[in-house]
Symmetry: C2
């Protein structure tokens, strides 16, 4: 059976899908990716689909499942490299890939992941203050 390779680049796992997404390939990819996220502690997954001529509902569902699995394992997913014709067909089919972030290419995908991570870290830092603010009455007692 063919297997989609997963490449680690810094804090990101890169998957370039070039083969037909049959059931077994998709299941194997989900499993491999989950294992690699846990093994490496990576916080980002980039899936390049620039080689795909067609993204049907099965591929769309597979991408959504991968994004959901990654999210549970504390990693964000970005789909990159979608061809213009694929985007048009997706929308015509009524598939708008809900819950999946996209970027034009790998570099922009990496930027997006880095920005989101930085924003998430900032939020985490500010959380204690935010909690205090919530408990403080909006109008100070006289």
């Amino acid at each position: 059976m063919e297997r989609v390779p997963i490449l680690k680049i810094g804090d990101i796992l890169l998957v370039s899908i070039q083969i037909d997404m049959e059931d077994q390939v998709a299941l194997q990819l989900q499993e491999d990716l989950a294992d690699r996220i846990v093994a490496t502690g990576c916080h980002g997954v980039i899936i390049d689909i620039s080689a795909l001529d067609i993204v049907d509902s099965f591929v769309g569902r597979t991408l959504a499942t991968i994004a959901a699995i990654s999210k549970v394992l504390d990693a964000d997913t970005v789909v990159v490299g979608m061809r213009p014709a694929v985007a048009i067909t997706l929308v015509e089919l009524g598939l708008s890939l809900p819950g999946i972030r996209t970027a034009l290419n790998v570099e922009l995908g990496m930027d997006l992941l880095a920005r989101e991570r930085a924003a998430a870290d900032d939020d985490a830092d500010e959380e204690p203050d935010g909690a205090d603010d919530a408990e403080t009455p909006a109008v100070p007692a006289p």
Copy 2:
């Protein structure tokens, strides 16, 4: 015809070969890669072959040709992700991929390219001094 996607990451072009390397695919990849090197001005090419079960003499020759073309266009090539079984078979077949640099994975390949680039830049900087040294006699005149 299937086409191998070329992903730009910083100063490096990444190619992950997952489909069978037939004549037309190999020629197209060489052409696409040469075009992208010229268009982007990238100085490094990483070819990931972790998806390949078999590297025969044709694939070996294709990799060597890509490395040679890239070199002429001022880009270094590193082949990464070779499986242990592939390495054993290559040597048994008498193919040792002359002229091709290898690294275990994409990250190590990037490190190798960065080091080589830094060394090449240093050499370029030191060249005038080196020429002076060569003209200086080894033993100073009394």
